[in-house]
């Protein structure tokens, strides 16, 4: 469940009292006025020599047979299983798994610990879109010297691009799971309404309107105003490249491109016609909507199929999976929504053992297969993606379809050149305030894109970046 709860698990924040004084104290704790703060990461791992020379196998063997204690922050459920396997393999390494919260909560705590200079874990889960945000500030260890040569070739190519530095010279994490998009839909509801599965967005729009007419209780899909991860994936799929960073002081912000405007226009029209729902996702009302047929479809990601089985179990056998609708008929373009990796903090005192933990969990065939089949993390390791034990599963929930195989195919349709800003938490938050609000209130989505653009540019400039629009 790694991907879908980002930025919506604010519950933990409630534990922080509302007292202003406490806010001050919090601000004080996380604050740091050390002028050398930005350079402190450079002195992190002792293996981070001037040149990225491979750490020798002897060094690795020695490190792995030395009693070592590692801390691993992640919110993947039951990850202890994989950690137990790792510890059985390397009995001298003692790994403590800590779940400090999901998504935003996790990042807040991680950032506070990194800034405080103590208490940070050795290894932490980081979603793809957040990697550059932690790379800024040199918080992540370059794993290049610690990974065997050719490790990158073992992963899905576009996924590997996501975890590298902006210039491609460094590797910041080992990929864990991904979320290539597809369309999940209720076969029975569409059949009753006499609607074919839409292959293009035009057909999707028509189908959404037709379904409303045939079945006023249902919507073909929900576009939540609180899920910028999904909205960004829709932009990605349309060919928009709204974000970029040169690894230094220049960021690219272009959420008002023609492609993005096309997406905003399309969904804005559907909202204006009440042809789709605009409910916030991943809360109780939304789960109910999936289970009771309010939503006859979901523009989901690869982790969606299994998640849906758990949420809408009563509708088993009535779902199908199809490619995400295309902007031009005949195309085969998908995009990624969600997906995360395990990164080693530059502050780790045991960079070798930490990087081996990150690698082993996400590289050992048995470990990754269990992640895929038991924890439902959609694999990023090619070997697992092709493993019959994964792809050949026939899902009863989907009327016996091989859903995994379908999404494994969609995974090959994802364009690799999608980049991020070094402050994606802020970018998503501002997106919710502008685009998300317009979605929820049925406002002008195209104007909202402009507002998002303006807010991002203002923030970037205020933070000292040079902005290319």
């Amino acid at each position: 469940m790694s991907n879908r709860t980002h930025h919506r698990s604010r519950r933990g924040a409630a534990l922080v009292s509302g007292a202003a004084v406490l806010t001050l104290a919090l601000a004080a704790c996380s604050g740091s006025v050390d002028t050398d703060d930005s350079s402190s990461g450079g002195s992190g791992g002792d293996g981070e020599a001037a040149t990225a020379e491979l750490v020798s196998q002897e060094e690795i063997d020695e490190a792995m047979s030395t009693p070592t204690k590692l801390t691993f922050w992640t919110w993947v459920p039951d990850i202890q299983n994989q950690v137990d396997m790792f510890e059985a393999e390397y009995p001298e390494i003692d790994v403590e798994v800590v779940n400090v919260g999901q998504g935003q909560e996790h990042y807040k705590k991680l950032r506070s610990a990194l800034q405080a200079g103590q208490g940070a874990p050795d290894v932490a889960q980081v979603e793809f879109q957040m990697i550059q945000s932690f790379a800024l500030g040199d918080n992540l260890l370059d794993l290049t010297p610690y990974l065997p040569e050719g490790t990158g070739d073992e992963y899905v190519p576009w996924v590997w691009e996501q975890i590298k530095s902006t210039d491609g010279s460094k590797v910041f994490a080992v990929p864990q799971d991904s979320g290539p998009m597809g369309l999940l839909y209720r076969t029975d509801l569409l059949e009753d309404a006499g609607i074919d599965v839409p292959e293009t967005w035009d057909e999707f729009g028509q189908a959404a309107r037709d379904l409303r007419e045939a079945n006023p209780d249902a919507y073909l899909a929900d576009l939540p105003g609180n899920d910028m991860g999904q909205f960004t994936a829709l932009l990605w799929q349309a060919g928009a490249r709204p974000f970029g960073w040169d690894g230094g002081e220049t960021v690219t912000i272009d959420v008002t491109s023609d492609e993005a405007t096309q997406v905003a226009q399309f969904w804005g029209d559907l909202i204006a016609d009440d042809a789709i729902a605009v409910d916030p996702d991943f809360n109780d009302a939304w789960y109910q909507g999936l289970a009771n047929g309010k939503y006859a479809g979901w523009t989901a990601a690869a982790w969606g199929p299994v998640f849906l089985q758990g949420t809408a179990g009563n509708t088993s056998g009535n779902w199908g999976a199809a490619p995400i609708p295309q902007w031009e008929s005949g195309q085969q373009i998908s995009a990624n929504w969600g997906g995360s990796s395990d990164a080693v903090m530059a502050s780790s005192e045991n960079p070798i053992a930490a990087s081996q933990l990150a690698l082993w969990i996400n590289n050992d065939p048995e470990s990754t297969l269990r992640l895929a089949n038991e924890q439902f993390l959609f694999p990023t390791l090619v070997e697992t993606l092709e493993d019959p034990a994964f792809v050949d599963q026939e899902a009863e929930f989907y009327g016996g379809e091989k859903v995994n195989a379908k999404f494994a195919e969609y995974s090959t349709w994802v364009d690799a050149d999608f980049a991020w800003l070094p402050f994606m938490d802020l970018a998503y938050s501002e997106g919710e305030e502008t685009v998300g609000k317009a979605i929820a209130e049925g406002g002008d989505l195209v104007a909202a894109l402009q507002a998002w653009q303006d807010a991002l540019v203002a923030y970037a400039e205020q933070q000292g970046f040079t902005v290319e629009q």
Binding site: R8, A28, V33, L426
Partner: protein, 314 residues
Amino acid sequence: MSTKTTAVPSRPTQAPRKRGASPMKRRQNAAAYSMVAPFLVIFVLMLVVPLFYAGYLSLFQDRLVGGVSFVGLENYVRALQDPSFLGGVLRMVKFLLIQVPIMLGLALVFALVLDAGILYAQRFVRLGIFVPYAVPGVVAALMWGYLYGPDFGPAAQIAEKLGLPAPDFLSNEWMLGSIMNVVTWEFVGYNMIILYAALRSIPSELYDAAAVDGAGKVRTAWSIKIPSIRPALILTLIFSVIGTFQLFNEPNLLRSLAPNVIGVDYTPNLYAYNLAFINRDVNYAAAIAFLLGFVIMVVSYVVQLSAQRKERAA
């Protein structure tokens, strides 16, 4: 309340010592200081130091590119022009003017009714009103989320039975009222207990005198009870003023239900929190928090001053 000073021994008139107190007095002082020391240490470490540190932080700017620089009062100037901050403060003023009178009015009525002893299940009712205060915020938010829910909440279901449109408690227009309702539900009991305790400490001679004068229950309440608990009322009022401006938990929890209605700047406290942890602008957040503290100080002072003036006039 001042303690009675009957135990003070009459001091023999003797020439004042040249300096300092007697050894006895000094020993007493030392004992007293050692007893408050644990409090003082924690107070200084947990409150005074962070406060000064936050004040210090608020004078700097830490940019993602370019690092830290001293900017003086620039953060404060920025805050005073920041529509997010000003909007949040205004929203809280509105909240204060509507919610606090309702909550304190209800608390006073409950306290008076309980004090009058005209209920059968006295203890049960008292506990019942107080229980919401003991419900953890997370649980309360889950519960209200269900009650407010537009699809399966009871209000929605009743409306559907009656063929009416479901009231959208979580919409833009209703949200502030919905939060007021939750906060009132949560804190009526707390304020009631304070007022009730104050009522119990009114000397019963006053009631006897009132009874002799022929005052009924309502008259007694109005002319004796309420004036007697004026200090407690002012106390609850000031607590409520402070609590209102620091509103954080309830909107933060309801965010998951209506993320696009409750923005990152819905209340000033929420805004400061998000500035620190999402915008990574700890310095500006510190300035916002300081300004908010200043607003609270001013409003509390005005409330206290006007209450005192009324008292003097009375």
